[in-house]
């Protein structure tokens, strides 16, 4: 039983890592007030970019970096459409998802079936890794997993304990106030969305160069949409994003393992989404919304009223 739990946890963490990257990025973007439904497209573009670059250069890290750049670039298109042109954010995000899916499919067609040449070596800390239980649970993952985990407190700190964080959150809560305080609302939103795209790209990269590793068309399989759900589930908080990502990821990867226990994998899969709706409901009430709810200006384009 204990073995089962351990192995379950050990599987959940890599499964949740791409979700974690995506969610951290989307939390940032939504905190600035922009809904980015294009995460799926950015993730998969990241996946194909990472694979291609890693394949030709032999370096995984270059691949990941390139993926971040591509994801961010795609996000900039969404940013331009929704922030500057003030187009409907929902439609724009959907368009980007389709764009990303299509682009990745086209670019990736020559990588189908090719194995990746290099591998990301798991980061193991000698000594620690041999600890009885904790060793295998905490210390045998590849560096990208650790990077994601480290990002969580870093992002948390930036968000709640620095001026940057206050700026970001103010833009998402009350852009008029931020504007009056001299903050460039557009710039902040652009940066936040760009960061979100980068993270999505890295998440996708993880899938193609570490997790699988391979390039399969459509390999994100809806991970981007799960990120959207996760962002709400995490109530726009990086720490809760960590828990949520591993939870969702774990459920996804474990759905079949739990079957012998009589738990239907599909009903299990439904739970996170049902729970997310619950979160939406709870956080919509006035007082509660102020404590844990969505950024007040989410999805509202900002214009400075001029006489």
């Amino acid at each position: 039983m204990w073995d089962f739990v351990l192995s379950a946890l050990r599987a959940a963490i890599p499964a949740g890592t791409p979700l974690l990257y995506g969610t951290l990025g989307e939390v940032t973007a939504e905190r600035s007030g922009v809904l980015n439904l294009g995460v799926e497209g950015m993730m998969i573009v990241g996946a194909v970019t990472a694979f291609g670059v890693a394949h030709s250069t032999g370096s995984i890290w270059l691949g990941v970096a390139a993926a971040a750049l591509m994801g961010g670039s795609l996000a900039l298109v969404h940013a331009f459409a929704s922030i500057t042109l003030r187009v409907n954010q929902v439609i724009s995000g959907l368009a980007l998802t389709m764009l990303g899916l299509g682009l990745s499919g086209l670019v990736g067609r020559r990588y189908i079936g090719t194995p990746i040449r290099t591998r990301l070596v798991p980061l193991t800390i000698p000594g620690l890794r041999d600890l009885p239980v904790v060793g295998s649970l905490f210390f045998r993952y590849d560096p990208l997993v650790y990077l994601a985990i480290i990002l969580v407190p870093v992002l948390w700190f930036i968000m709640y304990r620095t001026r940057w964080g206050i700026t970001l959150r103010s833009v998402g809560e009350s852009p008029a106030t931020a504007d009056a305080a001299g903050i460039n609302v557009f710039l902040v939103r652009y940066l936040a969305v760009f960061f979100g795209g980068m993270m999505a790209g890295v998440g996708g990269a993880y899938l193609s160069v570490v997790y699988a590793p391979a390039w399969i068309e459509g390999m994100t399989a809806g991970a981007g949409w799960i990120v959207i759900a996760l962002t709400i589930f995490a109530m726009w908080d990086p720490v809760r994003a960590l828990l949520g990502a591993y939870l969702f990821g774990g459920v996804r990867v474990l759905q079949y393992r739990l079957q012998p226990l009589g738990i239907s994998p599909n009903l299990l899969n439904m739970l996170p989404f049902a729970f997310t709706i619950l979160v939406l409901l709870i956080s919509s009430g006035g007082v509660v919304r102020k404590r844990i709810g969505a950024p007040a200006a989410l999805m509202q384009p900002y214009t400075r009223e001029e006489r």
Binding site: L85, L101, L103, L280, S284
Partner: protein, 361 residues
Amino acid sequence: MNVPLHVRIQKRLAVPRWIELSTAIFSLLLALAVIAVLFRALGVNPIVAYRKIFRGAFGSLYGLSETTVKAIPLILAGVGLCVAFQARVYNIGAEGQLLIGAICATGLALAFPDLPAWLLLPGMFFVGFVGGALWASVPALLKARFHVDEVLSSLMMVYIASELVNYLVYGPWKGLSEMGFPYTDKFSPSAQLPRLFRTRIHYPTLILGLVLAALAYVLIHRTKWGFEIRVTGENPEAARYAGMNYLKTVLLVMLLSGGLAGLAGVGEVAGIHYRLRYPQGVSPGYGFTAVIVAWLAHLNPLAVIVTALLIGGLLVGGDAIQVALGLPVATIHLFNGVILLFVLGGELFTRYRIRLEWRRE
């Protein structure tokens, strides 16, 4: 930033029809041009690709029939979305409602295989409509009573619906005769929609779609309910003053939208596959594609018929170039995405006038 050259975006007051139309066409052409460039960059000959797509979609009788096949669920779902979007209720979860409609129809078909067709088929459409409508009522109530955003809640419902389908086809409804595939058994003949000659066009659904498109148009523009929908979408405050019931309006449009998406689902299982399959096998994203269809049609249900055929043609063309050029099916998503982006951008030109002016200082 003290740049002397300012770009001022002014709301355009009058939008003459010719500007709307020519902008739409221009956006489309621009989109195609950009895609051509992308193709070139990726080593694909755009002329060849475009020709194949066009030929595949519209160049043969087979192509036309397949285009129509793809257009059927797009028409139904698209019309539903027009109604919802007119009230500014953004039902992004049409895909989920479609699946639920498919589930309900399947349930009826599997439960009563021996009913005569004239009873069973309308019954399947009925339960499909009701199922889709009920599925959409959840985000509707959440929005009207609790101000929960319908985009997010309806999107979550898509996943739940998708998992429900999986649960059924891998579990209680798993076909006995289908060798472990995630399919239900094939429907009995009386649960199969008739097709047009040797094509796959399940014409009862098509007729239903066309009729409902017309009815939706009449609803929106000629009835009291339609008036309330349009007023609520444009100015909820004025709607309140005029005594219109917000809850009723939101519920109405979501029920209609969900029901229509459900009908699309019924059409797919009863007209194309004759069984319920894993979610992507029932709908490769028709519910989401319908958003483009509705948007391109400027939320006009009659225009949806045209845009559905257009997008349906693109989908078929995608299959064609996959076969002929080895391009992945996902290429179509590229088309959809770029076209949508350019149409969105084009809308900007119709809504606003962009002025460049020099400012002192």
